[in-house]
């Protein structure tokens, strides 16, 4: 039953203007490729364009994220490099130990061979001590070697070989000692001169030399590796720190820029607020003086016109009486205008209450107050159950008083006036109340003018009024965070809509 499309189109006063074709400046520019040779964007243009679209908060967040990511990467790489350094230094210690152990083994094996030869020659048991030591220490040496070469298969292999050779040397020497013990010096003379395990000892020397050289190579390699890794780390830290600095500086610039901008805006707002307060104060003084000073001469005009009428008395002719009456009426009308204007100005400045207003009771109270003015009128009222809204009771009373008296006024030419007050629609955000009448209506092309101050669509001799009632309605509804609009057709009645938010507006 409601034409919502057209109703919403009437909300703003700018909508009444006919659709003007777009100015040339606003026309979309034709694609540039037609006239200017297209130049491909550099690859870095896209992220910058993207960055420009971000809000300041997101830009700062992006900057800090980059810094954070950079710190993470640098930390990870540094950690890895340092671990390598630490591991290498552990390996170095092991290598040094190994080299030392190997030379000990070397010497010890030599010692064993030499001392056992001396024994073979002399048969002196004292010379067997060194040999016995080797036999005792050999398992310890091997365990130690295995320990130090763990994880290096090549060296382990050599340790195995070494172990075998040492075993063979010890065994050969044991055989030789046994032969000496059985057959005396003669039985082992050749061996005593040449050594029982000359070959094995040679192999042992070779293996040990190999192992040593292997370790030295590994050491050298690790030293180079560590040096490279240290250089890497230093370079990375340097570049990283530089990048971080640049990023942080940009973020700082962004924040600073934003803060400066905000400060500027705040200062401007403050200035405007002060100007506004000053203007408001001036306006208040103005309306006070209007209220006080402008009324006095009007009272005088009306007063002296009345006194004149009384003084002239019966001798006043009809024409002169009408002139006097017009003078009085005009003064009264201007008084009414001033009063209405003051109310309108007060409505804009007055502190607003925020309570729950029962519109049902409000409308009933208004109709009760109007009952004397409605005498002699035939009006059929249709009033829905109205909701409760949040707002200022006195102001909302003014809204509905104006809408209802308007409906009553503009149906005065109807034999039976029909006035409906109801809920047009209800959403979670707002409730729309409508007041509909079957009065003289209005032309929709003037709809936006309806709510302006001193705007009237009818001549004073048709319907009296100052043209401020609907301006007041709009002002009050706006202060409540709501909207107003109207629909009508000449001679077919009018509907006025008031949309009030269901939640209390932020003040």
């Amino acid at each position: 039953m409601f034409d919502r499309e057209s109703s919403s189109s009437m909300e703003s006063p700018t909508n009444d203007q006919p659709q003007v074709p777009l100015a040339p400046a606003e026309k979309p520019t034709p694609p540039a490729t037609g006239t200017v040779p297209a130049r491909p964007d550099p690859f870095w243009r896209t992220p910058i364009m993207w960055f420009r679209t971000l809000t300041i908060e997101r830009r700062i967040l992006a900057g800090f994220s980059l810094v954070f990511t950079g710190i993470l990467v640098i930390s990870a790489v540094s950690y890895r490099n340092t671990s390598v350094l630490i591991a290498n230094s552990g390996l170095d210690t092991r290598s040094h130990e190994l080299v030392q152990l190997l030379s000990t083994i070397d010497v010890t094996m030599d010692e064993a061979e030499n001392s056992h030869r001396r024994y073979l020659v002399t048969g002196e048991a004292l010379y067997l001590e060194a040999y016995k030591t080797v036999v005792e220490q050999k398992p310890t040496f091997i365990t130690y070697l295995n320990d130090l070469t763990r994880g290096m298969p090549e060296q382990q292999h050599r340790v195995d070989l070494l172990n075998q050779m040492m075993e063979r040397q010890v065994n050969a020497e044991a055989d030789a000692i046994a032969q000496r013990d059985e057959g005396g010096f003669e039985a082992v003379m050749k061996m005593a001169l040449e050594g029982a395990a000359k070959q094995e000892l040679g192999a042992i020397h070779r293996i040990i030399a190999e192992m040593e050289s292997y370790e030295r190579q590994a050491l050298r390699r690790r030293v180079m590796e560590s040096a490279a890794s240290t250089t890497n780390t230093i370079v990375l830290l340097g570049i990283g720190a530089l990048l971080q600095l640049v990023l942080l500086a940009s973020v700082y610039y962004l924040i600073r820029h934003d803060i400066t901008e905000r400060r500027r805006v705040a200062a401007e707002l403050k200035l405007r607020g002060e100007l506004l307060a000053a203007a408001n104060k001036e306006l208040e003084a103005f309306s006070y003086s209007v209220s006080h000073d402008l009324r006095a001469p009007l009272r005088h005009i009306d007063g002296y016109a009345s006194l004149l009428r009384k003084a002239v008395g019966e001798s006043l002719n009809e024409k002169a009486a009408r002139y006097l009456q017009t003078i009085s009426d005009s003064a009264k009308q201007m008084g009414q205008l001033i009063d209405d204007l003051l109310v309108f100005s007060r409505m804009g400045r007055q502190e607003m209450l925020h309570t729950t207003v029962n519109l049902d009771q409000l409308v009933k109270a208004i109709l009760y107050d109007l009952r004397l003015d409605l005498q002699g009128r035939e009006i059929s009222w249709t009033i829905d159950t109205l909701p409760e809204v949040s707002g200022d009771p006195a102001m909302l009373r003014q809204v509905f008083m104006n809408l209802i008296t308007n409906a009553v006024k503009f149906t005065s030419t109807r034999p039976i006036a029909k006035i409906e007050i109801g809920v047009d629609r209800r959403t979670s955000a707002e409730v729309v109340i409508c007041v509909r009448d079957n009065g003289v209506g209005f032309d929709m092309q003037y709809a936006a003018k309806l709510f302006g101050v001193f705007q009237r669509l009818h001549r004073v001799d048709e319907f009296e009024g100052t043209g401020i009632g609907l301006a007041n309605v709009r002002r009050i509804v706006h202060r409540h965070g709501g909207r107003t609009w109207a629909e009508g057709m000449p001679d077919k009645g009018a509907t006025f809509y008031v949309a009030l938010p269901t939640r209390r507006p932020r003040s």
């Binding site: 209220s291 006080h292 000073d293 009324r295 009272r299 009306d302 007063g303 016109a305 009345s306 008084g335």
Partner: protein
């Protein structure tokens, strides 16, 4: 006795004064009206000084006080009257063009006995002044002479 006590009308605007007097005349109480043209004159009258040095002693039956007056404005006069124990019992009626809330609030806060907005329409003004004059000047019994407020 009420009938003998004057009505003090403080009105700087001669036209308003004339219209008010015209209204009083219809009630035949205009001869009781003493007209003051500003706040200072009102105080001179009440304290029997200046041009009122030799007037008959005694407080008026009522003071009709305009708010906006030269020299001393209505609110200042009101403040002086209500702060003086001898003058405090005099009924003071604010008779003004101002409908401003702060004027109303301040007047009552200072102890005004009534606040009347001068209607633009002469008939209403006439009847307002008539009623005020009759009520405060004739019907209402003013405080006895020499009465002082307790505080």
């Amino acid at each position: 006795m009420t009938a003998t006590k004057p009505i003090l009308l403080a009105e700087d605007n001669p036209r308003d004064a004339e219209l008010a007097l015209a209204a009083m005349e219809e009630q035949r109480i205009s001869d009781k009206v003493v007209l003051c043209h500003d706040g200072a004159e009102v105080l001179d009258y009440l304290y029997c000084r200046g041009q009122f040095k030799s007037r008959l002693k005694g407080n008026p039956a009522v003071v009709f006080l305009d708010l906006k007056m030269p020299k001393v404005n209505g609110l200042e006069v009101l403040r002086t009257i209500k702060a003086d124990t001898n003058l405090k019992p005099i009924p003071v009626v604010m008779l003004t063009s101002s409908r401003e809330e702060r004027d109303l609030a301040e007047s009552y806060a200072l102890g005004a006995n009534a606040y009347v907005v001068k209607p633009v329409e002469f008939h209403q003004f006439l009847s307002a002044v008539k009623e005020l004059g009759t009520f405060w000047g004739v019907i209402n019994e003013p405080p006895p002479e020499g009465s002082r407020s307790s505080n």
